[in-house]
Symmetry: C2
Subunit: 336 residues, 2 copies
């Protein structure tokens, strides 16, 4: 395991020399399903172990046209929901003997394109875009190159690319009915300035559902999708002459901020004075201080599906879109 001197990686050639066989034999030893006699196989393995040999996946990918690399294009990885998604994806990919390359696309929008270009440089087997909308031209480039492209929570439905998203509208409807059942009538939505498809879908879904039963909805959507924005929304909405008694926050982070401000700055009790529903089911939603009723992201299922998209053999003939349901998690922020 340690009899080498000079630095640098050891190649199959050196292993072959030590084992007294041809380089092909070494290659076949490490290729599942290839024909090697048990005898030489053992000799090769011993030599490889002694020299500390590791197959060079880059060279292998050069010839086998599949590198095992899957690119994850993410911005705001530090966000609770996204980080748990990255966790699930990396784990699942490894189980499928792939490896994740993370491209941080935080910042300017054009960075997304640069990121996907990186993907092409490394001949990834597939690219999963977790945020940001890639340009149409770069999508075409991916398709031409035979790159699989999987978009998460995005609107673009194009032939050849896989799209997986959440049924935000259904969840929003369910939230509305929960509020109605609790006897609430003065509704509000808190969103942020980030007009990503998921957030917009939840906001719009809630407003539309309310309209369909003849109710109006006050809205707040300003600032980043963070705790402070939720608090700002509370300050704005609760100071009105006709403050809401039920608030749908399109994100748990927003909901936490809203609740903090409602409790500490307005002295409101939740759910007695005010019902709140969030979205994502991030960790703190389960903490006793919040005990937030919310919708759970089916992270594991989505990750499984994404991995199956990556490993499946053939491309979808036309636009493929898979919608996941976000199950409601009942806790203590809605009056019953």
């Amino acid at each position: 395991m340690k009899s080498r001197s000079g630095p640098g990686f050891v190649s199959a050639q050196e292993v072959a020399r030590l084992a007294g066989v041809s380089r092909s034999a070494v290659s076949r030893t490490f290729t599942p399903g290839a024909s090697v006699s048990p005898d030489t196989r053992e000799r090769v393995l011993e030599a490889a172990d002694r020299l500390g040999y590791h197959v060079n996946h880059l060279a292998r990918g050069l010839i086998s046209q599949t590198t095992g690399i899957v690119c994850l294009v993410v911005s705001d990885i530090a966000t609770p929901y996204l980080s748990s998604m990255v966790d699930a994806l990396t784990r699942r990919l490894q189980e499928a003997s792939k490896v994740a390359m993370v491209i941080n696309a935080t910042g300017r929008l054009e960075k997304i394109e640069d990121a996907i270009r990186q993907t092409l440089h490394y001949r990834a087997d597939a690219t999963v875009v977790l945020s940001g909308s890639p340009d149409r031209a770069i999508i075409q480039t991916c398709l031409d190159s035979g790159q699989r492209l999987i978009l998460l929570n995005r609107d673009e439905v194009l032939p050849g690319i896989r799209n997986v998203a959440l049924d935000n509208a259904a969840a929003a409807r369910q939230a509305l009915h929960a509020f109605l059942k609790a006897g609430c009538r003065r509704l509000a939505v808190v969103a942020s300035a980030a007009r990503t498809p998921s957030l917009v879908g939840r906001e719009k879904g809630f407003v539309d559902a309310a309209r369909s039963v003849g109710l109006d909805v006050a809205t707040w959507s300003d600032g980043p999708t963070a705790h402070a924005t939720g608090a700002a929304g509370a300050r704005h909405l609760l100071a009105r002459t006709d403050p809401p008694d039920a608030v749908f926050c399109v994100t748990d982070l927003l909901a936490c901020g809203f609740m903090d401000a409602a409790r500490h700055e307005f002295g409101l009790r939740i759910p007695e004075d005010l019902s709140v529903i969030g979205f994502d089911d991030i960790e703190h939603a389960g903490w006793p201080s919040y005990a937030l009723t919310t919708f759970a992201q089916p992270v594991a299922e989505i990750a499984d599906h994404v991995v199956s998209c990556v490993t499946e053999y053939d491309a979808p003939a036309d636009a493929s879109r898979r919608l996941f349901a976000a199950p409601m998690v009942w806790r203590g922020t809605v009056r019953r």
Copy 2:
């Protein structure tokens, strides 16, 4: 940008054919500092653009001995502190024109070794271990292969590997003095069953500092490093006949759990009845409900230093260890 027909990536050869030059010319066009006339350079660039050509970094890495890949071995990426570290690292690495490959080592300890082996398969330029202790043998293998190995918040100090950590003992001492200054004398520490060097260092640092001034410390360390564990610690410590009036939680997550239980289950006011200090300065520490006094992880500085370790030319002659200070963040959980 779209005149190709069959799937698959386009090679430099095809670009050369279209541009009417040799493949070498194409190669040189994309190699900074190589000698190409402005005329052919332009012809090549145009052909490359038309065909959608992207340099194959894998093939380039094969010959240039440097792939631009840096492996991040992480477990529990979804944890607030680690996810922000991954965020910072991926961003900084990209700025240094490297790319991060994330290996999820969650689970069994032996997975760390598998993970590092992956690293070797892809001929990464360096490997950053964010959690878990790699085995000594695998470290040796890395060194033999010329792999740079950078350990974060680990104890192992070995020749050839870079070690970067936090000055946990200094922070623990500072926490103790803050408590003493606030008039607290009944001390406690809350940790978890995870005996990682950082957590142990903080716990031990606090206990030692207290002993040196003749004070005893009640401790709780059981369960995972999570909110629930902090709450359990509160239930245990606050139910004693002689409950603490100052608690140092080795992690913000633990501190949040402790505070929630102390407030809601024991009706204690913070900081009037009880002072609390955490560690990490995660996002919620800044939220009004917690306003936790804590120690900030110098994430940006650490990331910068790690990247400089990756890009620096020569290996450290012997064991290299860099200690970062964690500045105290004063908020509202310590009486003044």
